[in-house]
Protein backbone atom coordinates (compact mmCIF):
# COMPACT_ATOMS: atom_id res chain seq x y z
CA UNK A 1 0.00 0.00 0.00
CA UNK A 2 1.20 3.47 -0.89
CA UNK A 3 2.24 5.45 2.15
CA UNK A 4 0.17 8.63 2.24
CA UNK A 5 1.59 9.97 5.49
CA UNK A 6 3.93 12.98 5.21
CA UNK A 7 6.11 14.40 7.96
CA UNK A 8 4.89 17.99 7.71
CA UNK A 9 2.39 20.27 5.97
CA UNK A 10 5.25 21.73 3.89
CA UNK A 11 6.36 18.33 2.59
CA UNK A 12 2.75 17.25 1.94
CA UNK A 13 2.27 20.27 -0.33
CA UNK A 14 5.53 19.81 -2.23
CA UNK A 15 4.94 19.70 -5.97
CA UNK A 16 1.21 20.42 -5.79
CA UNK A 17 1.22 24.21 -5.45
CA UNK A 18 1.30 26.60 -8.40
CA UNK A 19 0.42 30.25 -8.88
CA UNK A 20 -3.12 30.85 -10.15
CA UNK A 21 -4.44 27.47 -9.02
CA UNK A 22 -7.95 26.64 -7.77
CA UNK A 23 -8.10 25.29 -4.22
CA UNK A 24 -11.20 23.81 -2.54
CA UNK A 25 -11.02 24.18 1.23
CA UNK A 26 -13.14 22.53 3.93
CA UNK A 27 -14.51 24.18 7.04
CA UNK A 28 -17.49 26.23 8.18
CA UNK A 29 -16.53 29.47 9.87
CA UNK A 30 -13.48 28.44 11.88
CA UNK A 31 -14.90 24.96 12.57
CA UNK A 32 -13.00 22.15 10.88
CA UNK A 33 -10.65 24.35 8.88
CA UNK A 34 -7.32 22.99 7.57
CA UNK A 35 -5.28 25.43 9.63
CA UNK A 36 -1.92 23.67 9.24
CA UNK A 37 -2.17 23.49 5.45
CA UNK A 38 -3.30 27.12 5.23
CA UNK A 39 -0.18 28.15 7.19
CA UNK A 40 2.00 26.05 4.90
CA UNK A 41 0.50 27.68 1.78
CA UNK A 42 1.25 31.06 3.34
CA UNK A 43 4.86 29.98 3.93
CA UNK A 44 5.14 28.66 0.36
CA UNK A 45 4.04 32.05 -0.98
CA UNK A 46 1.84 30.63 -3.76
CA UNK A 47 -0.13 33.50 -5.24
CA UNK A 48 -3.11 34.48 -7.42
CA UNK A 49 -5.11 31.72 -5.77
CA UNK A 50 -8.80 31.12 -6.36
CA UNK A 51 -10.23 29.51 -3.25
CA UNK A 52 -13.63 27.82 -3.03
CA UNK A 53 -14.53 27.86 0.65
CA UNK A 54 -17.80 28.58 2.41
CA UNK A 55 -16.17 31.36 4.44
CA UNK A 56 -12.94 33.35 4.32
CA UNK A 57 -11.72 32.97 7.90
CA UNK A 58 -11.17 35.88 10.26
CA UNK A 59 -8.36 38.44 10.44
CA UNK A 60 -5.20 36.53 11.28
CA UNK A 61 -6.69 33.02 11.37
CA UNK A 62 -7.92 30.51 8.83
CA UNK A 63 -8.02 31.78 5.26
CA UNK A 64 -7.59 35.27 6.70
CA UNK A 65 -3.83 34.61 6.82
CA UNK A 66 -3.71 34.14 3.02
CA UNK A 67 -5.72 37.32 2.53
CA UNK A 68 -3.31 39.27 4.73
CA UNK A 69 -0.41 38.19 2.52
CA UNK A 70 -2.39 39.02 -0.69
CA UNK A 71 -2.04 35.46 -1.99
CA UNK A 72 -5.73 35.23 -2.90
CA UNK A 73 -7.06 36.60 -6.18
CA UNK A 74 -10.62 35.33 -5.89
CA UNK A 75 -12.93 33.74 -3.34
CA UNK A 76 -15.94 31.52 -4.11
CA UNK A 77 -17.98 31.67 -0.88
CA UNK A 78 -21.46 31.97 0.59
CA UNK A 79 -20.71 34.21 3.57
CA UNK A 80 -17.69 36.39 4.25
CA UNK A 81 -18.83 38.81 6.93
CA UNK A 82 -16.30 38.09 9.66
CA UNK A 83 -13.15 39.41 8.07
CA UNK A 84 -12.25 43.13 7.96
CA UNK A 85 -9.21 42.66 5.67
CA UNK A 86 -11.37 40.69 3.25
CA UNK A 87 -13.87 43.54 3.10
CA UNK A 88 -11.14 46.14 2.64
CA UNK A 89 -9.59 44.25 -0.28
CA UNK A 90 -12.98 43.48 -1.81
CA UNK A 91 -14.28 47.06 -1.60
CA UNK A 92 -11.02 48.42 -3.07
CA UNK A 93 -11.25 46.00 -6.00
CA UNK A 94 -8.11 44.03 -5.10
CA UNK A 95 -10.03 40.83 -4.46
CA UNK A 96 -12.66 39.13 -6.63
CA UNK A 97 -15.64 37.51 -4.99
CA UNK A 98 -18.15 35.04 -6.42
CA UNK A 99 -21.06 34.51 -4.05
CA UNK A 100 -22.55 31.03 -4.21
CA UNK A 101 -25.56 29.96 -2.15
CA UNK A 102 -24.22 27.64 0.52
CA UNK A 103 -26.00 24.51 -0.70
CA UNK A 104 -25.07 25.26 -4.29
CA UNK A 105 -21.40 25.56 -3.31
CA UNK A 106 -21.51 22.26 -1.41
CA UNK A 107 -23.25 20.51 -4.31
CA UNK A 108 -20.83 22.02 -6.85
CA UNK A 109 -18.00 20.34 -4.91
CA UNK A 110 -19.88 17.06 -4.49
CA UNK A 111 -20.83 17.00 -8.17
CA UNK A 112 -17.30 17.85 -9.32
CA UNK A 113 -15.92 15.00 -7.28
CA UNK A 114 -18.58 12.63 -8.57
CA UNK A 115 -17.91 13.31 -12.26
CA UNK A 116 -21.04 15.39 -12.73
CA UNK A 117 -20.22 18.56 -14.70
CA UNK A 118 -23.43 20.39 -13.86
CA UNK A 119 -26.78 20.11 -12.12
CA UNK A 120 -30.09 21.96 -12.07
CA UNK A 121 -31.32 23.60 -8.87
CA UNK A 122 -34.21 25.85 -7.85
CA UNK A 123 -31.88 27.73 -5.52
CA UNK A 124 -31.38 31.30 -6.75
CA UNK A 125 -34.06 31.32 -9.46
CA UNK A 126 -35.31 34.90 -9.86
CA UNK A 127 -32.27 36.36 -8.06
CA UNK A 128 -28.92 37.82 -9.19
CA UNK A 129 -27.44 34.33 -8.80
CA UNK A 130 -29.46 33.16 -11.82
CA UNK A 131 -28.24 35.91 -14.16
CA UNK A 132 -26.48 34.50 -17.21
CA UNK A 133 -27.21 30.88 -16.27
CA UNK A 134 -29.21 28.38 -18.30
CA UNK A 135 -32.83 28.09 -17.12
CA UNK A 136 -34.84 24.94 -17.66
CA UNK A 137 -38.31 23.85 -16.58
CA UNK A 138 -38.95 20.42 -15.11
CA UNK A 139 -42.50 19.42 -14.10
CA UNK A 140 -43.66 23.03 -14.07
CA UNK A 141 -40.78 24.34 -11.93
CA UNK A 142 -37.92 26.50 -13.18
CA UNK A 143 -34.35 25.49 -12.36
CA UNK A 144 -30.92 26.95 -13.15
CA UNK A 145 -27.81 25.13 -14.26
CA UNK A 146 -24.87 25.19 -11.85
CA UNK A 147 -21.45 23.73 -12.65
CA UNK A 148 -19.53 21.13 -10.69
CA UNK A 149 -16.19 22.27 -9.28
CA UNK A 150 -13.04 20.28 -9.96
CA UNK A 151 -10.21 21.87 -8.00
CA UNK A 152 -6.47 21.59 -8.61
CA UNK A 153 -6.06 20.91 -4.90
CA UNK A 154 -8.34 20.14 -1.96
CA UNK A 155 -7.26 20.96 1.58
CA UNK A 156 -9.37 19.44 4.34
CA UNK A 157 -9.28 18.78 8.06
CA UNK A 158 -10.55 15.60 9.74
CA UNK A 159 -10.44 14.20 13.26
CA UNK A 160 -8.78 10.86 12.59
CA UNK A 161 -7.29 9.04 9.64
CA UNK A 162 -5.62 5.71 9.09
CA UNK A 163 -2.50 5.53 6.87
CA UNK A 164 -4.64 4.51 3.87
CA UNK A 165 -6.36 7.91 4.00
CA UNK A 166 -9.71 6.83 5.40
CA UNK A 167 -11.13 9.87 7.23
CA UNK A 168 -13.39 10.25 10.24
CA UNK A 169 -14.78 13.62 11.28
CA UNK A 170 -16.13 14.81 14.59
CA UNK A 171 -19.54 16.51 15.07
CA UNK A 172 -20.16 19.63 12.94
CA UNK A 173 -16.50 19.83 11.88
CA UNK A 174 -17.40 17.55 8.94
CA UNK A 175 -19.27 20.34 7.06
CA UNK A 176 -17.58 21.20 3.72
CA UNK A 177 -14.60 18.91 4.37
CA UNK A 178 -16.27 15.84 2.91
CA UNK A 179 -17.44 17.37 -0.41
CA UNK A 180 -14.22 19.42 -0.71
CA UNK A 181 -12.10 16.28 -0.25
CA UNK A 182 -13.76 14.62 -3.22
CA UNK A 183 -13.44 17.46 -5.75
CA UNK A 184 -9.66 17.96 -5.82
CA UNK A 185 -7.36 16.38 -8.38
CA UNK A 186 -5.08 16.09 -5.35
CA UNK A 187 -6.47 16.07 -1.80
CA UNK A 188 -4.27 16.75 1.20
CA UNK A 189 -5.88 16.07 4.58
CA UNK A 190 -4.69 17.17 8.00
CA UNK A 191 -5.94 15.28 11.03
CA UNK A 192 -5.64 15.40 14.79
CA UNK A 193 -4.52 11.79 14.95
CA UNK A 194 -3.30 9.12 12.54
CA UNK A 195 -4.35 5.76 13.94
CA UNK A 196 -3.01 2.32 12.92
CA UNK A 197 -4.59 0.44 10.02
CA UNK A 198 -7.50 -1.64 11.27
CA UNK A 199 -8.37 0.58 14.20
CA UNK A 200 -11.11 2.54 12.40
CA UNK A 201 -14.46 0.77 12.06
CA UNK A 202 -14.88 0.27 8.28
CA UNK A 203 -18.62 0.88 8.73
CA UNK A 204 -17.91 4.33 10.16
CA UNK A 205 -15.56 5.85 7.58
CA UNK A 206 -16.88 9.27 6.46
CA UNK A 207 -14.53 9.78 3.49
CA UNK A 208 -12.94 6.64 1.99
CA UNK A 209 -9.19 6.85 1.42
CA UNK A 210 -9.52 6.75 -2.37
CA UNK A 211 -10.20 10.50 -2.26
CA UNK A 212 -7.21 11.32 -0.04
CA UNK A 213 -3.69 11.42 -1.50
CA UNK A 214 -1.59 12.88 1.29
CA UNK A 215 -1.96 13.05 5.05
CA UNK A 216 -0.41 14.99 7.87
CA UNK A 217 -1.04 15.33 11.58
CA UNK A 218 -0.18 18.07 14.04
CA UNK A 219 -1.48 20.23 16.87
CA UNK A 220 -4.59 22.25 16.03
CA UNK A 221 -5.66 25.48 17.70
CA UNK A 222 -9.37 24.90 16.88
CA UNK A 223 -10.39 28.46 17.68
CA UNK A 224 -14.01 29.14 18.70
CA UNK A 225 -15.64 32.00 16.76
CA UNK A 226 -18.71 32.67 18.95
CA UNK A 227 -18.48 31.32 22.47
CA UNK A 228 -22.06 31.01 23.74
CA UNK A 229 -22.94 29.30 27.01
CA UNK A 230 -25.73 28.97 29.55
CA UNK A 231 -25.49 29.16 33.31
CA UNK A 232 -25.93 26.07 35.40
CA UNK A 233 -29.18 26.16 37.34
CA UNK A 234 -28.53 26.60 41.07
CA UNK A 235 -28.72 23.25 42.86
Amino acid sequence: MKNKVYASADSALEGVLSDGMLIAAGGFGLCGIPELLIDAIRAAGTKDLTIASNNAGVDGFGLGVLLATRQVKKMISSYVGENAEFMRQYLSGELELEFNPQGTLAERMRAGGAGIPGFYTRTGVGTVIAEGKEHKDFDGQTYILERGIVADLSIVKAWKADPSGNLVFRKTARNFNAPAATCGRVCVAEVEEIVPLGSLDPDKIHVPGIYVHRLITGPHEKRIEQRTTRKREAV
Binding site: G32, Q102, G103, T172, R230
Partner: protein
Protein backbone atom coordinates in the same frame (compact mmCIF):
# COMPACT_ATOMS: atom_id res chain seq x y z
CA UNK B 1 -48.46 55.08 11.40
CA UNK B 2 -48.39 56.63 14.85
CA UNK B 3 -45.30 56.00 16.93
CA UNK B 4 -47.39 54.67 19.82
CA UNK B 5 -48.22 51.46 17.93
CA UNK B 6 -45.49 48.98 18.81
CA UNK B 7 -47.34 45.68 18.94
CA UNK B 8 -45.22 42.65 19.82
CA UNK B 9 -41.59 42.81 20.98
CA UNK B 10 -38.87 40.41 19.77
CA UNK B 11 -39.74 37.71 22.24
CA UNK B 12 -43.47 37.98 21.61
CA UNK B 13 -42.84 37.66 17.86
CA UNK B 14 -40.71 34.58 18.52
CA UNK B 15 -43.41 33.12 20.78
CA UNK B 16 -46.03 33.72 18.06
CA UNK B 17 -43.77 32.11 15.45
CA UNK B 18 -43.40 29.07 17.72
CA UNK B 19 -47.17 28.54 17.39
CA UNK B 20 -46.50 27.67 13.73
CA UNK B 21 -44.63 24.50 14.71
CA UNK B 22 -46.28 21.11 14.43
CA UNK B 23 -45.41 17.93 16.26
CA UNK B 24 -42.80 15.82 14.51
CA UNK B 25 -41.58 18.53 12.15
CA UNK B 26 -37.98 19.09 11.09
CA UNK B 27 -37.40 22.85 11.13
CA UNK B 28 -34.62 25.29 10.31
CA UNK B 29 -34.42 28.52 12.31
CA UNK B 30 -32.54 31.52 10.94
CA UNK B 31 -30.27 33.90 12.82
CA UNK B 32 -31.71 36.65 15.06
CA UNK B 33 -35.33 36.58 16.26
CA UNK B 34 -35.94 33.17 14.60
CA UNK B 35 -33.29 31.66 16.92
CA UNK B 36 -35.41 32.78 19.90
CA UNK B 37 -38.29 30.62 18.63
CA UNK B 38 -36.64 27.57 20.23
CA UNK B 39 -37.33 29.13 23.67
CA UNK B 40 -41.10 29.05 23.04
CA UNK B 41 -41.80 25.60 21.57
CA UNK B 42 -45.29 24.74 22.90
CA UNK B 43 -45.81 21.97 25.45
CA UNK B 44 -46.48 18.63 23.77
CA UNK B 45 -44.89 19.65 20.47
CA UNK B 46 -41.63 17.99 19.53
CA UNK B 47 -39.64 19.46 16.67
CA UNK B 48 -36.14 18.59 15.47
CA UNK B 49 -34.02 21.63 14.67
CA UNK B 50 -31.73 21.44 11.66
CA UNK B 51 -28.53 23.46 11.54
CA UNK B 52 -27.42 23.75 7.92
CA UNK B 53 -23.73 23.37 8.76
CA UNK B 54 -24.50 19.68 9.23
CA UNK B 55 -26.68 18.68 12.17
CA UNK B 56 -30.17 17.51 13.03
CA UNK B 57 -31.23 17.68 16.66
CA UNK B 58 -29.65 20.92 17.81
CA UNK B 59 -29.45 21.27 21.59
CA UNK B 60 -29.09 24.36 23.81
CA UNK B 61 -25.91 26.35 24.47
CA UNK B 62 -23.33 24.39 26.51
CA UNK B 63 -22.62 25.04 30.16
CA UNK B 64 -19.61 27.26 30.75
CA UNK B 65 -16.43 25.24 30.33
CA UNK B 66 -18.11 22.62 28.13
CA UNK B 67 -17.86 24.47 24.81
CA UNK B 68 -16.67 22.25 21.96
CA UNK B 69 -15.01 23.92 18.94
CA UNK B 70 -16.26 21.02 16.78
CA UNK B 71 -19.90 21.67 17.71
CA UNK B 72 -21.41 24.89 16.42
CA UNK B 73 -24.61 26.06 14.77
CA UNK B 74 -24.97 27.95 11.49
CA UNK B 75 -24.48 31.22 13.38
CA UNK B 76 -21.05 29.88 14.48
CA UNK B 77 -22.25 29.70 18.11
CA UNK B 78 -21.22 26.83 20.39
CA UNK B 79 -24.15 24.47 21.02
CA UNK B 80 -24.80 20.93 22.31
CA UNK B 81 -26.18 17.68 20.94
CA UNK B 82 -29.28 15.72 21.96
CA UNK B 83 -29.93 11.95 22.14
CA UNK B 84 -31.46 12.02 18.61
CA UNK B 85 -28.70 14.14 17.05
CA UNK B 86 -27.25 13.19 13.67
CA UNK B 87 -24.26 14.82 11.96
CA UNK B 88 -23.62 14.98 8.22
CA UNK B 89 -21.69 16.99 5.67
CA UNK B 90 -22.79 20.21 3.95
CA UNK B 91 -23.78 18.50 0.69
CA UNK B 92 -26.05 16.09 2.59
CA UNK B 93 -27.39 18.98 4.66
CA UNK B 94 -28.53 20.90 1.60
CA UNK B 95 -29.73 17.73 -0.10
CA UNK B 96 -32.34 17.41 2.67
CA UNK B 97 -33.16 21.13 2.38
CA UNK B 98 -33.39 21.15 -1.43
CA UNK B 99 -35.14 17.79 -1.37
CA UNK B 100 -38.06 19.22 0.61
CA UNK B 101 -37.46 17.18 3.77
CA UNK B 102 -37.44 20.23 6.05
CA UNK B 103 -41.07 21.14 6.83
CA UNK B 104 -40.50 24.81 7.61
CA UNK B 105 -37.91 27.55 7.83
CA UNK B 106 -38.40 30.60 10.04
CA UNK B 107 -36.21 33.43 8.75
CA UNK B 108 -35.63 37.13 9.17
CA UNK B 109 -36.44 39.60 6.38
CA UNK B 110 -35.44 43.07 5.24
CA UNK B 111 -38.37 43.31 2.82
CA UNK B 112 -41.27 41.07 1.80
CA UNK B 113 -43.58 41.67 -1.15
CA UNK B 114 -47.25 40.81 -1.61
CA UNK B 115 -46.34 38.07 -4.12
CA UNK B 116 -44.11 36.32 -1.56
CA UNK B 117 -40.81 37.71 -2.80
CA UNK B 118 -38.22 37.87 -0.02
CA UNK B 119 -35.16 40.11 0.32
CA UNK B 120 -32.92 39.41 3.29
CA UNK B 121 -29.32 39.19 2.13
CA UNK B 122 -27.98 42.41 0.67
CA UNK B 123 -28.36 46.17 0.56
CA UNK B 124 -26.59 47.58 -2.52
CA UNK B 125 -23.83 50.01 -1.59
CA UNK B 126 -23.58 48.63 1.93
CA UNK B 127 -21.40 45.87 3.28
CA UNK B 128 -22.46 42.58 1.68
CA UNK B 129 -21.72 39.52 3.74
CA UNK B 130 -23.41 36.92 1.58
CA UNK B 131 -26.56 34.84 1.43
CA UNK B 132 -25.20 31.86 3.33
CA UNK B 133 -27.85 29.14 3.13
CA UNK B 134 -30.88 31.45 2.86
CA UNK B 135 -31.42 31.06 -0.91
CA UNK B 136 -31.27 27.26 -0.65
CA UNK B 137 -33.66 27.24 2.32
CA UNK B 138 -36.36 29.40 0.75
CA UNK B 139 -36.17 27.42 -2.49
CA UNK B 140 -36.32 24.03 -0.82
CA UNK B 141 -38.29 23.85 2.43
CA UNK B 142 -42.00 23.11 2.64
CA UNK B 143 -43.08 26.38 4.21
CA UNK B 144 -41.35 29.73 4.73
CA UNK B 145 -42.36 31.96 7.64
CA UNK B 146 -40.62 35.30 8.04
CA UNK B 147 -40.34 37.18 11.30
CA UNK B 148 -39.62 40.89 10.87
CA UNK B 149 -40.26 44.45 11.96
CA UNK B 150 -43.17 45.77 9.93
CA UNK B 151 -41.55 49.15 9.30
CA UNK B 152 -38.03 50.64 9.19
CA UNK B 153 -36.84 52.87 11.99
CA UNK B 154 -37.98 55.80 9.85
CA UNK B 155 -41.49 54.36 9.76
CA UNK B 156 -41.38 53.16 6.14
CA UNK B 157 -43.19 49.94 5.38
CA UNK B 158 -41.07 46.83 4.79
CA UNK B 159 -44.14 44.88 3.62
CA UNK B 160 -44.29 46.07 0.04
CA UNK B 161 -46.04 45.78 -3.30
CA UNK B 162 -42.65 44.84 -4.76
CA UNK B 163 -39.23 44.41 -3.13
CA UNK B 164 -36.66 47.11 -3.87
CA UNK B 165 -33.65 45.10 -2.59
CA UNK B 166 -32.04 42.15 -4.42
CA UNK B 167 -34.11 39.02 -3.83
CA UNK B 168 -33.28 35.95 -1.81
CA UNK B 169 -36.15 34.10 -3.45
CA UNK B 170 -39.09 34.78 -5.73
CA UNK B 171 -42.60 33.98 -4.49
CA UNK B 172 -41.28 31.93 -1.57
CA UNK B 173 -42.87 33.42 1.58
CA UNK B 174 -46.03 31.79 2.96
CA UNK B 175 -46.59 33.77 6.17
CA UNK B 176 -45.30 37.02 7.68
CA UNK B 177 -45.13 37.49 11.45
CA UNK B 178 -44.29 41.11 12.23
CA UNK B 179 -44.47 43.23 15.35
CA UNK B 180 -47.93 44.33 14.15
CA UNK B 181 -49.50 40.98 13.37
CA UNK B 182 -49.67 37.94 11.11
CA UNK B 183 -50.31 38.05 7.35
CA UNK B 184 -50.53 35.28 4.76
CA UNK B 185 -49.44 35.52 1.15
CA UNK B 186 -52.55 34.69 -0.91
CA UNK B 187 -53.54 35.22 -4.56
CA UNK B 188 -53.81 38.96 -5.14
CA UNK B 189 -51.95 40.12 -2.05
CA UNK B 190 -51.75 39.64 1.70
CA UNK B 191 -54.50 38.49 4.02
CA UNK B 192 -54.62 39.58 7.65
CA UNK B 193 -54.62 36.53 9.91
CA UNK B 194 -54.10 38.11 13.29
CA UNK B 195 -53.40 41.49 14.91
CA UNK B 196 -50.68 41.93 17.53
CA UNK B 197 -51.64 43.05 21.03
CA UNK B 198 -52.84 46.66 21.00
CA UNK B 199 -52.74 46.94 17.19
CA UNK B 200 -55.88 47.80 15.20
CA UNK B 201 -56.59 46.73 11.65
CA UNK B 202 -56.30 50.40 10.67
CA UNK B 203 -52.78 50.54 12.24
CA UNK B 204 -51.72 47.44 10.31
CA UNK B 205 -53.13 48.70 7.01
CA UNK B 206 -51.49 52.09 7.50
CA UNK B 207 -48.09 50.44 8.03
CA UNK B 208 -48.44 48.12 5.04
CA UNK B 209 -47.65 49.22 1.49
CA UNK B 210 -48.62 45.82 0.05
CA UNK B 211 -52.15 45.12 -1.17
CA UNK B 212 -54.31 43.66 1.58
CA UNK B 213 -57.11 41.45 0.32
CA UNK B 214 -60.20 40.11 2.06
Amino acid sequence: MTEAVKGWDRNQMAARAAQELQDGWYVNLGIGIPTLVSNYIPEGIEVTLQSENGMLGMGPFPYEGEEDPDLINAGKQTITELPQTAYFDSAQSFAMIRGGKIAMAILGAMEVAENGDLANWMIPGKLVKGMGGAMDLVAGVGRVVVVMDHTSKHGESKVLRACTLPLTGKGVVNRIISNLGVLDVVPGGLKIVELATGVTEADLRAATEATIVG
